[in-house]
Each structure stands twice: as structure tokens, then as C-alpha cells.
């Protein structure tokens, strides 16, 4: 079977489980909204946030909530040790990585469908939505975060404390991505044109590319031991 078909098969299987259970998506969206409400209270009830701190709030909510979904997506393969059956099959581990990363990407995108509108409702006063730029930035962060997250969730799933380990491993790696995203989104909310943040966008794309490549190459080592 060709690589794209393998990826598609795994992707459809995971989405089917997700559509049936909806556990990850509901948890992600709920927790994300909760974080934003908490931050809204913490910022002071009638204070209006500047563009950049507001962008920070958005990314904190998205990244802290999506780590819940990332952990589940790989842990599901471990439940009845299905990952062993996948490794015995003709499937290439690279396809497994790509499929899981795509699932994570999809989950993040869907939870953002809830989180972004809620964000604008809570913090939107005085911000330019800058929708095309915002969509591009969301896509780039989703790519980078799901690529790095997929690789590390395989590591975390092999440890005794899966839920604790994943954020500990993942957030330090993603710090530069977060910093860039906050900067770029802040600029977009401030109504500045896309040309001004081209450098930032390029670096974010580089991050995604680097971790997609590293994940594709290293994933087989990680799953074999997990």
C-alpha cells in the first residue's frame, strides 16, 4: 500500500473514533474556554488588554488546551497495545507519525473554531481581527505544535506518568514557536500589515518543517520502545 493511502486509512480510523466519542475535542474546547475566562478575570474585569497581551491570552488558551488532546491520540493506540499490531503490519512508522500529526492538527483546528470566537467575545474590544493573517498563524502553530507534539506524545506514552510528562517535554520545545506566534498575532491585532511580520511567519514555518522532518525520522525509534 502506498504511503498516502496508509496515512489516509489511519487518519480515517482515528477520526471515526473521535467522532464517536468526542472525548478529546470536548475536553479541549471546554478547557480552553475555561482558561480564557480565568485569564479574563485575572486581567481585571473592566480592563482592556493591549494587542500583544491579548494575543498571549489566545495562545495560552490554545496551547494549554490542545495538550489534552495530543496525549489521548497516542494513548489510544496503547490501550490494547494496538501499536504492536501496527508495527507487525506492513505499515511504515513514518505513515503512523504523519497520520497522528494530521489527527492532532485536525483536533486543534476544530477546537480553535470554538476558542477564537470566544476569545473575540471576551477580549476583542479594540482589536483588529486581521482574519487572513490570523488564519495563517493558526495553521502554522497547529502544524508545528502537532508535529512536535506527536513525536513527544509517543515518548510520554511510554513513561509511567503520561499526562504529566507530555507538557513537561513539549512546552520547552515549543517556547520559540509561542514567542513568535504571540509577536505576530499581536502585530495582526494591532492592525499592522502582513509584510511587517514576514520574518516571524517564515521562522514559524521553519519550526513546523524542522519538527515534521525530525518526527518523521525519529518516530520509528520512539514507537518501537513505547
Amino acid at each position: 500500500m502506498t504511503l498516502p493511502r496508509q496515512i489516509l486509512l489511519l487518519y480515517r480510523k482515528d477520526l471515526r473514533v473521535e467522532v464517536r466519542k468526542k472525548e478529546s475535542l470536548i475536553a479541549m474546547a471546554f478547557f480552553g474556554v475555561l482558561i480564557m475566562v480565568i485569564l479574563n478575570l485575572a486581567a481585571g474585569l473592566d480592563r482592556r488588554l493591549q494587542a500583544e497581551p491579548a494575543a498571549g491570552v489566545l495562545w495560552v488558551a490554545i496551547l494549554f488546551s490542545s495538550v489534552l488532546g495530543l496525549g489521548r491520540v497516542f494513548a489510544r493506540e496503547k490501550e490494547n497495545n494496538c501499536v504492536a499490531a501496527l508495527l507487525v503490519s506492513p505499515l511504515s512508522p513514518g505513515a503512523l507519525f504523519a497520520a497522528k500529526a494530521l489527527v492532532n492538527f485536525t483536533l486543534m483546528s476544530f477546537s480553535e473554531l470554538v476558542l477564537v470566537p470566544v476569545f473575540f467575545a471576551l477580549f476583542g474590544a479594540g482589536l483588529q481581527p486581521g482574519l487572513p493573517v490570523l488564519l495563517l498563524l493558526l495553521a502554522l502553530v497547529n502544524i508545528g505544535f502537532s508535529a512536535a507534539g506527536t513525536l513527544l506524545s509517543a515518548l510520554a506514552a511510554g513513561t509511567r506518568r503520561n499526562e504529566v510528562m507530555l507538557p513537561i517535554l513539549l512546552y520547552p520545545l515549543c517556547l520559540p514557536l509561542v514567542a513568535l506566534a504571540v509577536k505576530a498575532t499581536g502585530a495582526a491585532f494591532g492592525g499592522r500589515p502582513m509584510t511587517e511580520i514576514r520574518d516571524l511567519i517564515e521562522s514559524m514555518a521553519a519550526f513546523g518543517l524542522i519538527y515534521a522532518a525530525a518526527g518523521y525520522l525519529l518516530f520509528s525509534h520512539a514507537v518501537r520502545e513505547a
Binding site: M1, N80, C82, P90
Partner: protein, 239 residues
């Protein structure tokens, strides 16, 4: 005896974890259609041997060939021959029995996954529960489905790692019947188990592993089942 390549040939197989040797110089052969039963206490290396045979663990030294394909030279062709059953079901709890089988059949590139899934469900007598999620199945039903799953690619070599674990008496009898049918259909089978009685009942060859070494290997028809228990413990103590 003419010198034909036996179906399964394991030569001087070693597996070390760090400084701990889990398998030491294991060598065995099994003709096509044979049923090898491996006995041994926990930690003797049964599971490790099956994992190496299943390509889940790379051997430290030695070679394994199935139907002429070497495990390290042609892993793809080697894997295509394999079916694996363990006490873990390898099934997705949230998918139905049919969906599980269709997924694995498609993974192996079976031309018509849904037809294949239907056949297999029929064979393990689960057609009536085809659309229930696996989560709702009893342990025995899961094990039957798990065998059906291992058969999606029509493997010539079936590896069974402690398949009796967690089954009640009724389910265990059913499993034995199922395995006998598979054996009669000329599949080569390697099974690791604690259950001396059931193992002897099915096997054509019997091996005993102790401390990573294959200390005993004989054809079943040369063994007196009455005396086997004694023989088993004698070999363990000697090791």
C-alpha cells in the same frame, strides 16, 4: 530425510537487554503445518522469543528465517507471513468488530476488506455482534475476534503469546477448538503458554525454555503426556 529448508528456522538466536541475556543461543526448526508449543516459567524468555519472531524486537545475534525469508534481510516479506495473537487484544475498543477487521484488512492491502471481514466474523462465530463496539465484548469474544484479526492477511505462520490468559473454562475450550481447526488447515503455529495440558493437547512439537535457553525440544509423539509434568520440572531445576 531429504534436505529441504524447514518452514521456520531459528539459529543461535540471542537477545540481550543491556547486560541481561533474555535469550541465549536458541535454535529450532519447525516444518510447515507444525504446531510448536513453548513452555516455561515467567521470565524464561518465551515472550521475548515470540517478540523477536514477530519483528517487534531486533535480535542481538543469530538468524530467523520463515519460508526462506530472513527476518533482517527481508523484513517486509517476513512480516507478510505473520499473524500475531497475544493476551492483549490489539483491538480498538471504540470501533465495532467489523470496523476493526476492515481496518486491519485494509492495512494489509487486502483487495476487498469488507468481504474479508465478513468471512472472518463468520469463522469466529461473531456475525451476530458485528456492529457492537468491542468495548462491550466479553474477554472470550475479544480473544476470538483477536484471532480473526490475526488472520486478515491469511498468514502462514501464527504466533500466539499466552492466548489463554484471562479466559474462563468455556472460552478456553473454544479457543483450543479454534486452534485445532487452524492447525488442520495447514497453518504453522508457535504458541507460548503456561498451560501444560492444553498445550500438549494441541502441539506437534514441544519446547521448554528456562533462563533464556531452549533446554528441551522434542516431537509430541515421543512424549508421554502422563510423565510430562515431571519432565518439565526436572528440566527447570536442571537449568
Amino acid at each position: 530425510m531429504p534436505m529441504v529448508e524447514p518452514f521456520l528456522r531459528v539459529e543461535r538466536l540471542c537477545k540481550a537487554y543491556g547486560g541481561l541475556t533474555a535469550l541465549k543461543d536458541v535454535g529450532l526448526t519447525l516444518e510447515a503445518g507444525g504446531f510448536l508449543c513453548l513452555f516455561g516459567p515467567n521470565g524464561a524468555g518465551k515472550s521475548t522469543l515470540l517478540k523477536v519472531l514477530a519483528t517487534l524486537l531486533p535480535p542481538t545475534a543469530g538468524s530467523v528465517r520463515v519460508a526462506g525469508f530472513d527476518l533482517e534481510e527481508h523484513p517486509e516479506a517476513f512480516r507478510a507471513q505473520l499473524g500475531l495473537v497475544s493476551h492483549q487484544s490489539f483491538l480498538y475498543d471504540d470501533l465495532s468488530a467489523r470496523e476493526n477487521l476492515e481496518f486491519y484488512a485494509a492495512l494489509y492491502g487486502v483487495p476487498d476488506p469488507s468481504v474479508r471481514a465478513g468471512e472472518l466474523l463468520e469463522r469466529v462465530d461473531l456475525t451476530h455482534r458485528a456492529h457492537s463496539p468491542v468495548r462491550e465484548f466479553s474477554r472470550g469474544m475479544q480473544q476470538r475476534l483477536s484471532i480473526a484479526r490475526a488472520l486478515v492477511n491469511d498468514p502462514s505462520l501464527l504466533l500466539l503469546d499466552e492466548p489463554y490468559t484471562g479466559l474462563d473454562a468455556h472460552a478456553a475450550i473454544r479457543l483450543s477448538r479454534q486452534l485445532r481447526l487452524l492447525h488442520e488447515a495447514q497453518r504453522t503455529i508457535v504458541m507460548a503458554t503456561h498451560n501444560l495440558e492444553r498445550g500438549l493437547d494441541l502441539a506437534t512439537s514441544v519446547g521448554i525454555l528456562a533462563r533464556g535457553k531452549l533446554v528441551f525440544l522434542q516431537r509430541r509423539d515421543q512424549i508421554d503426556p502422563e510423565a510430562f509434568e515431571q519432565l518439565y520440572f526436572r528440566h527447570l531445576e536442571a537449568a
